[in-house]
Amino acid sequence: MEFVSSFISLLVGYYALKGYKEFAIKGLFFLYLGFIILGIGTFLRVFSATYFVILLRALEPAPHLRSLINLAGLIYTLTQLIAYSFFTATYILQAKALGERSLELGMVSAVLFPIYGLFFNPSLELIAIVMLGFITVHSFNNWALKRSSGSALVFLGFGFMFLSHLLFLFMIMEPMLLFFGQVTQLAGFMCLLVMLARVSRVHA
């Protein structure tokens, strides 16, 4: 499931890069960086998880292996946070361009809080939830303004990703939530894929 998610993320990233390079649409640059980093991070997680499963079957569980798994998990979460920071920056820059001055302070603090939070808050998953919550609210605002199918799909995409992080947060209590979280995450990426397919179908 995560492999498909990483592929979709890289595809969306590539499309954003195309828009940035061919038409100099500045707003797409952060979107490109975000999706490419998210795609690479997710792919690395799939790769490292498969590797660790094979390793654990072949070898006895050793303490250094556990710390290696923790390190891989930390790297993945950090790439996610960096990617979400770029999505947040996209919405902040757009709001600035549209002149939403009253919201500026709140938005800047919404970005700074998770970054500072890295030093004080040990739970990176919670930071991801805060960032994705912010992104989801903004994508909802965009849908409320535009009422287009594309903006609805982006809102659903980020909304599902937000929900998946909530499920991941509670998986210590119920391991099955990991599976549901993965399904929800995939649903989010599928929404983005449908959006991409729809915009690619435009004819003259």
């Binding site: 707003g27 303004l145 915009v199 690619s200």
Partner: protein
């Protein structure tokens, strides 16, 4: 009285407005019609025409002593690609 909002148009947006205006008139049009469609002054339109011809997006043609601007295949493709990208960007709340 509401304050008038002056919208900034990017270079790509101006090009697209010119190309869309030509497309609207069946793929070829006189400058006057394009001028209204793209909301540009005559001088600015002529300046942009020079760049569009250089890029191969538009062709100049003489018809009955009048100059006509024709959309090339490259121009048509550019327009379609831009519309796709505009829809993609708008889905994320990015205005071009």
């Amino acid at each position: 009285m509401p304050r008038e909002h002056k919208e900034y148009r990017s270079k790509a947006r101006i090009y697209v407005d010119i190309l869309a205006s030509i497309m609207k008139h069946g793929g070829k049009s006189r400058p006057t019609r394009i001028l209204y469609g793209a909301n540009l002054s005559h001088d600015r339109l002529m300046k942009h025409f020079g760049q569009l011809i250089e890029l191969g997006l538009v062709e100049e043609e003489k018809q009955d002593d009048a100059v006509i601007y024709k959309l090339t295949d490259k121009g048509r493709k550019f327009l379609i690609e831009f519309i796709k990208m505009e829809k993609f960007a708008e889905a994320f709340g990015i205005t071009i």
